[in-house]
Symmetry: C2
Subunit: 436 residues, 2 copies
């Protein structure tokens, strides 16, 4: 433990002053009395750094020292904690965090991408320097999910976790479902409203959810974080029809990040759209909200939802981490010392067993089902229901199938074969049907 | 901080070995490796005490010392923490906890009733002795709500919290709604299933929810816990008809404990059945589950749900507290030092402003509405909708009203007046309509 816990102040430097950075400064100012009563300390911002000094951020920073080079924050003697809010997996964030930890300063970050890629190295560095690396804000800012898994449910072996971890995707899916608009139309609207980035790839391709899932998996299962090994699927192939048809099965389609322990002990990690039963609380997480389900061996299912991102929730999570530090509390980055971490998860979507939803676009001619059915039969996949939507001699039609339980590997193989049939246009869409 | 944090063991004594006590022993045994990896310590049960030594509890206690008098656990030199699972607001639990804290031992308890009545005295005692008093298991065992409010959302001024805090009541209401059975019938079934006690008063009268609410209010608003001051209403006056009619307003009826900060700064505390909009996650908390909504000034709304009680969830919460203690972590009992606690809440259900649901049973004769309407008009309460159910010359019929926004005081006064009208049978049922 460094000397920060013996003084009456926790001295903080903020690197990055976008919406979140400004939000952190706002909480630390507006709720200063409450923070002092709750932690016994004053949390003082001694220096800030950002790209543009003259930008109006809606907060008065005149009393705080401005530095142009964020890296200099990491070596100052008057700083106990560096708050990294610049984002991005590489530099300058990466080298700033390394330098801060190496110089005996704790780090609080909202940077899921940095931790998903370099979390293990940074955790080891924090341990060597006997400082903390905290990241409640990196996953679902409005939900204290890191603390919940690391501490609240710590007595449990986690069997699985399932979550809606990206507000942009959830907003798009909710809107497609409500309005019947296409993915492209809703994405454009979301961009206009500021809910989606100009380059939406990281969100709609599932990468952002994957970053968060890699962190939650490491924490929940005590294994090395592994973003590169997880199965990743986005929402861009979904049609409004998929969302409507799902309702006929008493389901909704959500982009789910999931990690679970298989019967053989391996941990499965995957991100992709799934059908979720309407009886599950995940089905009622709408718009930009996030929601996460954790299943422990003694606690059973525990669910939590809230705002995923945005100034207030993300800043609230960062300040909660700062308050833990002010209270002298330090926890292993991934819940256990890095030397005790298990190897990275090795199971993927091929190992996901359960029911599936399949949508095919076919030429509407006799014998189509007779071509498809044997491909499924040969892999012992049995059909639970079949719906043909529309009927037209000129235009392709959709066939929607749901299957009984099968393995992901068989399902993906069968889908690949079906995609090659002459009567089928394009690749079938295959979605797992969650049973939680 | 006492010496427990310097050894490689946390030595624990269990007082009370009912379902929860046995569950705690089970977790500490089954998940011992995981607990050691996560905390760096072994949590060792050195002594247990319960009423009946010979009872089969499904766990092997032969390696643990049995003591007949639980109070002796509080003075043993080989005990760091006493886990109180005997229940009840009075002795022997009260004197055991006092003695343990006074003797420099931390206490972990699931006893909401004890803390709701004596929490302030015990918190002060824990402070004097520089030990911890922890109670995650006292409120919604499957939901780490104490940690969530005290730490996860600590950066926020809490605007309000709203929760389904009693699984027995929620089971009864859910079943009445699903089957159309009466309160009495479902209660009898719940008793047969073990979901309700032989004497169900504490659950169905709202007292148990009140105990939990008093603790959450103290924690969320930094005020002295005050069970006696809160407005308390049970579910025994509800009919299956109420639950059906609520659906016509896109609502469900739930027993809600709520605490919120009023515009004048006072804190309101009340427990009672409320109409909850179907768009609220609280409306989807069914059966024996609990669900709690917390609203912070920066984080916005944060919701969480899970099992409320039972062996696994309650024991999971107790062991989480023990793991915090093993990690050397100590927090003020109600989030801030007792000297910094604000006075107890003073506002009650009279100060609850909003829309109301009113059900009257009346003689079906002309002019009934003409008698009722002026009573409401005189208090400037305007009617939003009115439904008369059934129509019979011989039998009384129900009239259901919903109002526009008004104050609780006016509503309760008006209801009292309406109850005195000759055409009205019995007292009107008045339920707040939540807007969250």
């Amino acid at each position: 433990m460094n000397n920060q816990s013996h003084s009456s102040q926790l001295r903080v430097a903020l690197a990055g002053l976008g919406t979140v950075g400004a939000g952190v400064y706002k909480i630390l100012t507006q709720n200063a009395d409450l923070i002092k009563t709750r932690t016994g300390k004053t949390i003082e911002v001694v220096a800030v750094s950002a790209r543009n000094k003259s930008k109006d951020r809606g907060v008065d920073l005149s009393a705080v020292e401005w530095v142009d080079n964020p890296k200099s924050l990491a070596t100052r003697h008057d700083v106990d904690v560096v708050v990294e809010m610049m984002g991005g997996e590489g530099d300058p964030a990466f080298s700033l965090v390394k330098s801060a930890l190496g110089n005996g300063k704790s780090v609080v970050t909202a940077n899921k991408s940095l931790l998903a890629h370099h979390g293990l190295e940074l955790a080891a560095l924090a341990e060597q320097s006997n400082v903390s690396l905290m990241y409640e804000a990196a996953v679902a800012g409005g939900i204290p999910i890191i603390k919940m898994i690391r501490e609240g449910l710590a007595a449990n072996n986690i069997a699985g976790l399932y979550g809606i971890m990206n507000g942009t995707c959830n907003y798009i899916l909710t809107t497609m479902e409500r309005t019947g608009q296409s993915f492209g139309e809703v994405l454009k609207e979301a961009q206009a409203l500021g809910y989606a980035e100009a380059d939406p790839t990281l969100d709609v391709g599932g990468g952002d959810s994957g970053h968060k899932l890699a962190l939650l998996t490491a924490l929940a299962f005590g294994c090395k974080p592994d973003f590169d090994g997880l199965s990743l699927d986005g929402i861009d192939k979904l049609t409004a029809e998929d969302l409507t048809v799902a309702a006929e099965f008493d389901c909704r389609i959500k982009l789910i990040g999931q990690a679970k322990k298989l019967d053989d002990g391996r941990v499965l990690q995957m991100v992709g759209p799934c059908l979720v039963q309407k009886t599950s609380p995940l089905a009622h997480v709408d718009g930009v909200l996030n929601g996460i389900f954790v299943h422990g061996d003694f606690v059973g299912p525990s669910f939590t939802s809230g705002r995923g991102a945005g100034e207030g929730p993300t800043a609230s999570a960062i300040v909660a981490d700062l308050m833990d530090l002010a209270s002298g509390i330090s926890r292993p980055v991934f819940g256990v010392p890095t030397r005790s971490l298990n190897p990275s998860p090795t199971a993927s979507s091929d190992d996901w067993n359960g029911k599936f939803y399949i949508r095919l676009v076919v030429h509407d001619r006799p014998g189509v089902i007779a071509e498809i059915a044997p491909v499924l039969r040969d892999r012992k996949i049995s059909i639970e229901s079949l719906i043909q939507r529309g009927r037209s001699a000129d235009q392709p039609v959709s066939i929607i199938l749901t299957t009984h339980e099968t393995t992901g590997a068989d399902m993906h193989e069968a889908a690949g074969q079906i995609g090659k049939l002459g009567c089928v246009l394009g690749q079938p869409l295959v979605l797992p049907i969650l049973n939680i």
